[in-house]
């Protein structure tokens, strides 16, 4: 599994993380170690040392289907507190830096 510095920068970008130049190289090694672990498992499976026939991917720790909620409205009292805690607000709007995708 080869990870490039570019990959690390891309992932950091997607997660909106600022990564210092000196942190990049160690992160490359961390990524490679983690992905390398899974590559080992994949290889074991390919070579027949790990039999996963009939085993579904394990996605959830809960085995039970979750209960569903009835469609009945409940009003939350949290709003005023949240607005009061907002870095910036105008009346009952949250205010954010202007974003316009359209040209």
């Amino acid at each position: 599994m080869t990870i490039s510095e570019k990959d690390v920068r891309h992932v950091a970008d997607l997660a909106r993380l600022r990564v210092e130049e000196k942190e990049i190289e160690p992160l490359v090694r961390h990524f490679e170690a983690i992905l390398g672990h899974f590559a080992t498992l994949s290889r074991a499976r390919e070579e027949g040392r790990l039999n996963l026939d009939g085993v579904d991917p394990f996605l959830f720790s809960e085995r039970e289907a979750p209960p569903l909620r009835e469609d009945e409205p409940v009003r939350s009292a949290v709003r005023d507190d949240v607005l009061a805690a907002a870095p910036e607000r105008k009346d009952s709007f949250f205010v954010v830096p202007r974003i316009l995708e359209e040209e």
């Binding site: 289907a65 979750p66 569903l68 909620r69 469609d71 009945e72 939350s76 105008k90």
Partner: protein, 496 residues
């Protein structure tokens, strides 16, 4: 070599499900006109520690729509996180579905460009949450051009079903037909109000153009596709696609190339413009939402939903054409919406002749509804009353002209008993006997004309028309002209 440019269109339609509460929290979905950020809670504001709990009704409505579109419903369906940063999304991910959607592999038929039914395959239907709303200028307008946007999360978390078609649509007109069919279907099902202007049905179109060899049909070049957003009416869908296909064809014809991009439909100017988005850099990194274990759709739910499906629009159209002998266009019109279909059938059940009832609904009922801004449900003339009026016309007791006046009075809220004299008609209209008597009088007073007709000196039927006119005059317009000339023909034939 001559070239032919063929458009390829696929649509993604988001419909807002008609639930009372949001998809993962019990906040009200009633966001239109609500004060900003009133229907919010820790879940839909994405506060740490909050847990989403799926709305049962949203699943039921999704299953209902999926079944109506002939999809296969998964018995285990999974919600994924779609990760991206945007201020309308407080969690920095949208809960959506990825490779295990609720429903897959459906189809719907639309009237194709060649007039024959065309099958449009449905790739999938999945559930997801809506985002909040960004307002770019304050109500007073003073912040126009300012460095800020305003966020309202009332819409955030409202349940949506996204219906994705295969790229089976080959023209802007077909795209419009497809959207209309989907909208009609979700309305029939009570799954969504399908209001495009208010955004409860939103259409994104993927369109590309293939450059082919006119003679061999060989595809020489397939342009990159663009995604068009912001089409808020059926007309806008058609116009935006027409514009975009011409634009793309123009680029390809000049030997240019197209880039994959998102374009914004500007309805006022009638053009699409590129959205300079960070979308190119978007990499949603979908993964199963660990807060929401797989949802089980039980056999019972499938069975009860299937059994409770209403008669669907296309089935109703076929039945109206078959059972009532309506022409195709009339059948489609009467089945266009559930309230109209109910009104029409109620009329017929009350004794109105189906074709005449359909004509009255198409013309008079819709005219008054449009003029007064009424809906079918609140229409003042009950179907049983329209049926009575239609029966009077059918029986030749009332001319269409007078019946229209009577109808205008009915639409003002009068009863039929009051509306008839108000329009100058005798209560209950003229009896068949009355009409026969009038015919008698006219025949008696015009013996010379009768003689001429009987001896075959009326090849063009002008004289019989003249007699019809006299009877109509006598009836003061309350008789139906066609019925009167029918009686006249019969009587003139008798003495021959």
């Amino acid at each position: 070599m001559t070239f032919r440019y063929i458009p390829v269109i696929g649509l993604e339609i988001h419909v807002q499900l008609s639930t009372a509460t949001k998809i993962f929290c019990p906040c009200s979905t009633d966001y239109i006109g609500a004060e900003p950020n009133t229907n919010v809670c820790p879940v839909c504001l994405g506060l740490p520690g909050s847990l989403p709990v799926l709305n049962k009704r949203a699943v039921e409505l999704g299953v209902r729509a999926g079944l109506a579109l002939s999809c296969t419903i998964r018995n285990h369906t999974v919600f994924h996180r779609k990760n991206y940063f945007y201020p309308d999304l407080p969690k920095a991910y949208q809960i959506s579905q990825y490779d295990l959607p609720l429903a897959e592999g459906g189809e719907i038929y639309i009237p194709g460009d060649d007039g024959r039914p065309r099958r449009i395959r449905i790739t999938r239907l999945h559930l997801e949450e809506d985002a909040g709303k960004l307002v770019h200028s304050a109500a007073d307008g003073r912040l126009e051009g300012a460095a800020f946007s305003f966020v309202d999360y009332n819409r955030g978390g409202v349940p949506l079903a996204e219906i994705v078609s295969e790229p089976d649509i080959t023209s802007p007109r077909e795209a419009r037909e497809y959207v209309a069919r989907i909208r009609q279907t979700v309305r029939y099902l009570g799954v969504s109000d399908g209001d495009m202007e208010r955004g409860s049905l939103r259409v994104d179109a993927n369109v590309s153009v293939k450059k082919t060899d006119e003679t061999s049909g060989e595809v020489l070049y397939w342009g990159e596709r663009t995604e068009i957003k912001n089409m808020n009416s059926l007309r806008a869908v058609e116009r935006a696609l027409e514009y975009e296909i011409i634009r793309q064809t123009g680029v390809l014809a000049e030997g240019g190339s197209l880039e994959r991009e998102t374009r914004h439909w500007n309805d006022g100017e009638g053009i699409t413009t590129s959205m300079r988005s960070k979308e190119a850099a978007n990499d949603y990194r979908y993964f199963p939402d660990p807060d929401i274990p797989p949802i089980v759709v039980t056999e019972e739910l499938l069975e009860s939903t299937r059994n409770a499906l209403p008669e669907l629009p296309w089935a109703k159209e076929r039945r109206f054409a078959g059972e009532y002998g309506l022409p195709e266009a009339d059948a489609a019109f009467m089945a266009e919406s559930l309230p109209v279909a109910l009104y029409f059938e109620e009329c017929v059940k009350n004794g109105a002749a189906p074709l005449r009832a359909a004509n009255w609904i198409r013309t008079e009922v819709f005219r008054v509804m449009n003029e007064k801004g009424l809906s079918m449900d609140s229409f003042p003339v009950k179907p049983s009353v329209l049926a009575e009026l239609v029966a009077l016309v059918e029986g030749g007791k009332l001319s269409t002209t007078v019946a229209r006046e009577v109808f205008a009075h009915l639409a003002e809220g009068r009863s039929l008993k009051d509306a008839l004299p108000a329009a100058g008609a005798s209560p209950g209209g003229l009896s068949a006997e009355d009409v026969e008597k009038m015919v008698d009088r006219v025949l008696l007073a015009n013996g010379d004309v009768v003689e001429e007709i009987r001896s075959g000196r009326d090849p063009k039927g002008k004289k019989i028309k003249f007699l019809t006119g006299l009877v109509m005059k006598e009836a003061r317009g309350q008789a139906d002209a066609a019925a009167v000339s029918g009686i006249l023909e019969r009587r003139l034939g008798e003495g021959r």
